[in-house]
């Protein structure tokens, strides 16, 4: 991993600031490298050198190459970058909000709620009136998944908020219950599904960027981009929140506003990501962890760097997914889980030495 050092002694804050800036630059370089590699990787044997040669010699790309590049690889790259950044950012936001480095949208039921929405659309979508079905078209599953994630977040917030105060503990527990409920309802729907639907469900569930298209990108961008751009504004509030809600308030933070915005950001980014790419796990937990080890927990650096590293990591994982069983491809969720779960366990083992989570 570029620019990540895992020293035990925490670096001084000024060093940390400098190191965070350095890390940002390294992550941008990593992002560019991974992106270029990704464009040159795939089943069609379209090489970067070949494309560069064609472009430089003035011949231009062949029509086949152009189609592969513009309609397949570029939208896929863009989706990978966007979804990766969204997953890492939503994880970092959620962890700051819950004051727990192991929190993740998947844990508070946002992922499960979005999943229920998607499954609902896959299994019962055929029952929609023809006119409406034509109107939403291929957007049905993404839109339903986003609505499911959003609804579960709102419901969760209602349950966990009393007198304007949100209890993080209640919210976590309610999230677990909500996730179980969404899982049970999803189970019923899966039971009802026919063979074709089951196949769709399985692939959606494992997570994939295979269906990437400019249209899907267009559907998720308006949800994810504002979160990526505006989240850093919450950094100071989330830093103060690390002391606890009361003490953050004593420091002059309007805690309820910070919490509401963070929840909204998480629902938008994670819901949209689940909607277009299915269940891609571990990015949201692993990326912020690695960055905390490298540059400390200050959200002013953590949030933007998480977006950068998340984007690179997902595009990298997608590249592996495409070449490892070429010309077929693995669902990307399998890759991120294979890489992410051991890293997660390793983090747990290291934390165990420090006493508790």
């Amino acid at each position: 991993m570029v620019a990540l050092s895992l020293e035990r002694e925490a670096p001084a804050p000024r060093d940390r600031a400098a190191r965070a800036a350095l890390t940002s630059r390294a992550l941008v370089v990593l992002l560019i490298v991974v992106s270029v590699l990704s464009l040159g990787t795939g089943a069609a044997g379209l090489s970067l050198f070949g494309m560069a040669r064609d472009l430089i010699s003035g011949e231009g790309l062949s029509q086949r190459d152009q189609v592969i590049l513009m309609d397949i690889r570029l939208p896929r790259l863009a989706m990978g970058l966007l979804i990766g950044a969204a997953l890492a950012m939503s994880g970092a936001l959620m962890q700051g909000l819950f004051r727990n480095p192991l929190a993740d949208p998947g844990i508070v039921g946002v992922g499960a709620g979005a999943g229920l929405g998607a499954v609902l659309a896959i299994v019962l979508g055929g029952l929609l009136p023809v006119g409406l079905a034509a109107l939403v078209g291929t957007h049905l599953v993404p839109v339903a998944a986003f609505l499911g994630g959003w609804a579960s977040t709102l419901l969760l917030y209602r349950v966990a908020t009393k007198g304007g105060q949100t209890s993080v503990a209640t919210m976590l527990l309610a999230g677990i219950a909500l996730g179980a409920l969404a899982g049970a309802l999803t189970g019923i729907l899966v039971y009802l599904a026919d063979d074709t639907q089951l196949r769709d469900l399985t692939f959606w569930n494992m997570g994939s960027l295979a269906g990437a298209s400019w249209a899907k990108l267009g559907a998720s961008l308006p949800l994810i981009l504002p979160v990526l751009l505006l989240s850093p504004l919450l950094a100071r509030g989330l830093n103060a929140l690390a002391l606890g809600e009361a003490q953050a308030t004593h420091l002059g933070i309007h805690v309820e506003t910070v919490k509401r915005l963070a929840i909204l950001g998480v629902a938008a980014a994670a819901g949209a990501a689940v909607a277009v790419a299915g269940g891609i796990g571990f990015i949201g937990i692993v990326v912020p962890h690695l960055l905390r080890l490298a540059t400390g927990p200050d959200h002013r650096y953590l949030l933007p760097n998480a977006a950068l590293l998340g984007a690179s990591l997902l595009v990298g994982a997608d590249m592996i997914a495409r070449v490892i069983v070429s010309p077929a491809e693995l669902p990307i969720g399998i890759i991120t889980a294979t890489i992410g779960a051991p890293v997660f366990l390793w983090i747990l083992l290291k934390r165990r030495g420090l006493g508790g989570l």
Partner: protein, 258 residues
């Protein structure tokens, strides 16, 4: 000026505080004392805006429950009984959180000077989570000091609200911290502290408020509040107060009554 009148408060629907009246002037240290469960911390939470209350509690003329967090943060800082940090921040990063409200500007190495005051010079780069309980308590005190560094600004006096500031400290650092609080008051700021140690309270506080079962049992100068009768009633054990010359009341608990 802190003006509390007829303040009552509940925790989970159970009444804890009943008709508390209390006035604390800037330039003084007020100690809130009383046995466990007497409502000391609940009173402090009401005064710092953490808990809704009936009655009034005005700080520099602002009703605490109706004043936005940002404005309150400009005139008072609060040291909690204990703080569980969620992430491995360094000492310096935590102390800098005192600058969050943006009211107190960084100035001339303010975090470094605050750390020096609490006896933690050179601890800046250390991970707070690896420090001892007493050291962590002092880190947070430094953060609180940074938040309201000047005891008096053109907007009036500023305040320190401290919940058991010396509970985790050894005797040397207890004196360090109480001396800091005293100096803050002497420079024109106000200090309100929940205290368990009656002797330290007697040594450093101008005004002592003794709570029992959510009611004010007695308040005033140390020698009028810390009497055998009051303390025996409040703490349910025999206490003998002796006057140490020039230091006011001094007491030791008596293991055996009589």
């Amino acid at each position: 000026m802190l003006e509390v009148s007829s303040l009552s408060a509940c925790l989970s629907g159970r009444p804890i505080l009943h008709g508390i009246n209390l006035t604390a002037a800037p330039g003084t240290v007020t100690a809130i004392v009383g046995p466990n469960g007497s409502g000391k911390t609940t009173l402090l939470r009401a005064l710092t805006g953490d808990l809704s209350y009936a009655g009034t509690a005005r700080l520099n003329g602002h009703e605490v429950s109706e004043t936005p967090a940002r404005r309150m943060a400009a005139i008072r800082a609060v040291l909690a009984q204990s703080t569980q940090l969620a992430f491995p921040f360094t000492v310096d990063e935590v102390v800098r959180l005192g600058l969050t409200s943006g009211v107190q500007t960084e100035g001339d190495n303010l975090p470094g000077r605050a750390l020096e005051k609490v006896g933690l010079s050179g601890y800046g780069p250390r991970d707070v989570q690896t420090l001892s309980g007493g050291e962590q308590a002092r880190v947070h005190l430094a953060r609180v000091l940074v938040q309201v560094w000047e005891p008096v600004t053109h907007q009036g006096p500023r305040w320190l609200f401290l919940d058991e500031p010396v509970a985790a400290l050894d005797i040397g650092h207890q004196l360090t911290v109480m001396t800091l609080a005293r100096a803050y008051a002497d420079a024109g700021g106000g200090v309100v502290a929940v205290m368990h140690d009656l002797n330290l309270s007697a040594m450093f506080a101008d005004h002592i408020a003794l709570l029992l079962d959510g009611r004010m049992l007695a308040q005033g100068a140390a020698d009028t509040v810390l009497t055998d009768a009051h303390l025996s009633r409040a703490y349910g054990c025999a206490v003998r107060v002796n006057a140490v010359p020039a230091r006011g009341p001094w007491l030791v608990p008596q293991a055996m009554a009589g």
